[in-house]
């Protein structure tokens, strides 16, 4: 039992659920306090001690089922099925086994059967389970990685179990029965039984191997979920990944909010606040027992986002917008514009709609611009310069997202220069890799001199790095 719990703990760890040693010990303590015959209670007890994040619960439940829904049940099933099959052929398993047992008792001593053969003949399934588990461990089934290896590991497990030997023993046994004068019909039944037994064992070994693969696979999927997603380019996300990516982005945003809150705290101590100090200490006759300091507030940054929503960068824009949406409260003021050629403000959409609706709407031009045209950065920046330059002051960070593929239009880089002059800084995020900047119709090199930060931003890790730079 103890070993099995530890093995389960390891499985959880491998699947990316962090379980500390102390938590493992808690789990054991918890089990001491409970009776273990209730499966639900057992599951909940382990969970409460080891799994501490809401997100992990689903994964835990799945793993628990995989690990604890005993392989024993599978065995039981397989053998029940075998019994049924034999019954259909007119073989009464119970009777035959009883007969066998009796005859074996008669020749007590001369018979030296292996563990496996004994377990099979007595239908001792828990012993059989142990044998399979042991053999699988020796065969290294835990290292299984893909479907193609199922056959290989099943064979190795069977070898380790000495399945061939057992089969031989059983055949010998039948022969001896014949020699002892068992009737032909019965011998045939017996042979049928032995054949079926072997087949069932082979099948269950295979089932075991497949289960092992499932567990390993689960580990792999989890790892992928946690690690790969941050590195994966926004361009190549599948529908499913987009959904999961949302979670990850939300978590990232939360982390940044946390950091901001701590930072606000650290900056709190300022000069002595005489007014507040007097007021607070009035109860003590104006003797300043308690000293109050002025809080120095670090301004939360203002942010203006210009987001290219042309189809070539739509996926990147999606996460960018989601990220900004989640961070709205971290900024005092956030204004969001979208453009392809025309430029329009979608700030109100951000404030009114819930997250997914807002992003879809923004990507669709938010009813203010036509998205079915060819990108023209110069035109868009000029529009911004004409109409919205006033919204920028020295506390504002201007963030531009786009690939700067301008379809050979006029770049109007001077608009960016004017924006930079007014703003705190200008950040350009380009989903293309730097080697492509300035080639073909890319005019990134024209804008670059007027940007404070220019970063490649194609996956979540890069995005979070940039955001760290901006607000921290």
């Amino acid at each position: 039992m103890q070993k099995k719990v530890i093995a389960f703990t390891n499985l959880l760890r491998k699947s990316g659920i962090r379980v500390s040693v102390a938590e493992g010990i808690d789990a054991f303590n918890a089990l001491d306090e409970l009776s273990l015959d209730d499966r639900e209670i057992f599951r909940d007890a382990l969970r409460t001690a080891m799994v501490k994040r809401g997100d992990d619960i689903a994964a835990y439940d799945e793993l628990f089922e995989l690990f604890w829904s005993g392989f024993y049940d599978n065995l039981r099933q397989a053998f029940d099925q075998m019994e049924g099959d034999l019954g259909a052929m007119g073989v009464d398993l119970d009777q035959i086994l009883r007969q066998l047992a009796e005859m074996m008792k008669e020749m007590d001593g001369e018979l030296d059967l292996s563990e496996l053969a004994k377990a099979l003949l007595t239908q001792d399934l828990s012993q059989l389970e142990n044998l399979i588990r042991q053999a699988a461990q020796e065969a290294g089934t835990g290292r299984i990685e893909n479907m193609l290896q199922v056959g290989f590991f099943s064979r190795r497990t069977a070898e380790q179990m000495g399945l061939e030997g057992a089969s031989q023993e059983l055949e010998n046994l039948v022969e001896r029965m014949r020699a002892m004068g068992m009737g032909d019909a019965q011998i045939q039944q017996l042979q049928e039984l032995m054949r079926k037994l072997m087949e069932t064992v082979r099948r269950t070994v295979r089932t075991f191997t497949e289960r092992e693969l499932q567990q390993q696979n689960h580990n792999y999927m989890e790892k992928f979920r946690r690690e790969m997603l941050t590195e994966k380019s926004f361009y190549h996300l599948t529908e499913d990944e987009i959904a999961r990516m949302r979670e990850v982005v939300a978590r990232l945003a939360q982390r940044i909010k946390n950091i901001l809150s701590i930072r606000k705290k650290r900056l709190k101590r300022g000069k002595l606040d005489l007014h507040q100090t007097l007021r607070r200490n009035m109860a003590r006759g104006g003797i300043p027992f308690e000293v109050v300091y002025k809080t120095r507030r670090k301004d939360r940054p203002k942010l203006v986002i210009l987001c290219d929503v042309s189809s070539s960068v739509a996926n990147v824009s999606r996460f960018m917008l989601q990220f900004m949406y989640s961070l709205q409260e971290a900024f005092t003021k956030i204004r969001c514009y979208v453009f392809v050629a025309e430029l329009g403000e979608v700030t109100s959409v951000f404030q009114e709609k819930d997250i997914s609706a807002a992003i879809e709407k923004a990507l669709d031009g938010g009813d203010v611009i036509n998205v079915y045209t060819r990108s023209n950065f110069g035109y868009a920046f000029h529009e911004f310069w004409k109409n919205h330059l006033a919204s920028i002051d020295k506390k504002t960070t201007v963030m531009i997202l786009g690939d700067a593929r301008n379809n050979y239009n006029d770049a109007k880089a001077w608009c960016i220069r004017d924006i930079q002059n007014k703003a705190k800084n200008v950040v350009w995020l380009n989903p293309e890799s730097p080697s492509a900047w300035g080639f073909g119709d890319s005019v990134m090199d024209r804008y670059m001199p007027y940007c404070d930060i220019v970063e490649e931003c194609r996956n979540l890790r890069q995005l979070s790095k940039v955001v760290d730079q901006i607000i921290l």
Partner: protein
């Protein structure tokens, strides 16, 4: 690792937890009961997480009631600090005492030659002014110094700052407090600790490691009907089932604020107050704002309801292709939602 040897109410088993909490009007499943039982047995704090309104705080309250323990509540908020959570010196009282005891102080100081000597004399009396007499115990301190075992509820711990969380850890790990002027105060009896969190931010791993974790989710339909039955005794069984059924449908929508058990209860009470016997469309759309707190959410739910009604109407129509129009009309009018 028994919590306490002294005689006091204890849960005997997981089943016992379910029954005793049930007596207090709190219906819970095995999941919750297991954790509560373990918390008592292992003497570990419980971190209760889950969406708002599923009865996290309530759980702590009924456990306190069931065990006959005094509940001490520490409500967390941004900016909560040690002084407000643990203890504070009562300056004004100290000041008042010095004023009143002025003569006595003068007496003590009588005969001193130098300033240093006087200061030493006063210093020798330090303990008078820095004694537990002048301490205002705040919830954490109360829980620790209480003679009888208590239940400490640290509510909405996610609202507190990360620094406070670190401080809380220290108290929770060994249940003792050090006051520099007085010394270390060790808990006389181990309080049972519940921390609740709405997941506004993720709690630190260190805190989670020290706690048992309980995730309370929206209850299953069957459980919710039982809760409803228990909390709103006058409700008709059928109505309760309808309410819960519709509630689950609404929860499946993508809402800004998903309604939880407390909203279900409110709604049921509202329906009772309106003498509704079943969920008629009109009543439902009139009372939706009891369960949904945002205009956008109400709109979404309305749309969903409209769709549902349409579907049901179509079904009814399909069932009786040539049925009497009157019957059909009445079916459309009410009864459509269950």
């Amino acid at each position: 690792m028994r919590v306490n040897e002294r005689e006091e109410a204890m849960f005997k088993s997981v089943q016992d937890v379910i029954e005793q909490l049930g007596d207090q009007g709190y219906i819970c499943d095995k999941k919750i009961a297991t954790v509560v039982f373990l918390a008592q047995q292992l003497g570990k704090p419980v971190l209760v997480e889950g969406p708002a309104g599923v009865g996290k705080t309530e759980l702590a309250k009924v456990v306190a009631k069931a065990l006959g323990r005094n509940m001490i509540r520490l409500q967390c908020y941004e900016g909560l600090d040690e002084a407000k959570a643990l203890y504070e010196w009562e300056y004004s009282k100290q000041l008042l005492y010095t004023q009143i005891l002025k003569d006595k102080v003068a007496e003590t100081l009588a005969g001193t030659q130098t300033l240093a000597e006087a200061a030493d004399r006063v210093g020798a009396q330090d303990s008078v002014f820095f004694s537990s007499r002048f301490i205002v115990p705040r919830p954490l301190m109360q829980a620790i110094t209480s003679e009888k075992p208590t239940l400490l509820l640290v509510d909405e711990v996610d609202k507190s700052d990360p620094e406070f969380e670190a401080f809380l850890l220290e108290v929770l790990s060994d249940f003792q407090v050090t006051i520099p002027e007085i010394g270390t105060i060790v808990a006389k009896s181990m309080p049972l600790v519940f921390l609740t969190s709405n997941d506004a931010r993720e709690m630190s791993d260190a805190l989670k490691r020290r706690c048992l974790h309980l995730w309370i989710d929206y209850p299953s339909e069957e459980l919710e009907v039982r809760i409803l039955d228990r909390k709103v005794p006058n409700i008709d069984k059928r109505l309760a089932e309808e309410v819960v059924g519709l509630m689950n449908r609404i929860r499946a929508l993508d809402l800004k604020k998903t309604p939880s058990i407390s909203e279900t209860l409110d709604w049921a009470r509202a329906l009772l107050a309106l003498n509704a016997e079943e969920l008629e469309d009109q009543i439902v759309s009139d009372t939706l704002n009891v369960i949904l707190k945002y205009e956008g959410d109400v709109e979404k739910a309305q749309n969903e309801l409209a769709k549902l009604i349409k579907k049901r109407t179509a079904e009814v129509a399909a069932e009786k292709p040539q049925g009497a129009p009157a019957a059909e009309a009445s079916a459309v009018k009410k009864g459509i939602l269950h």
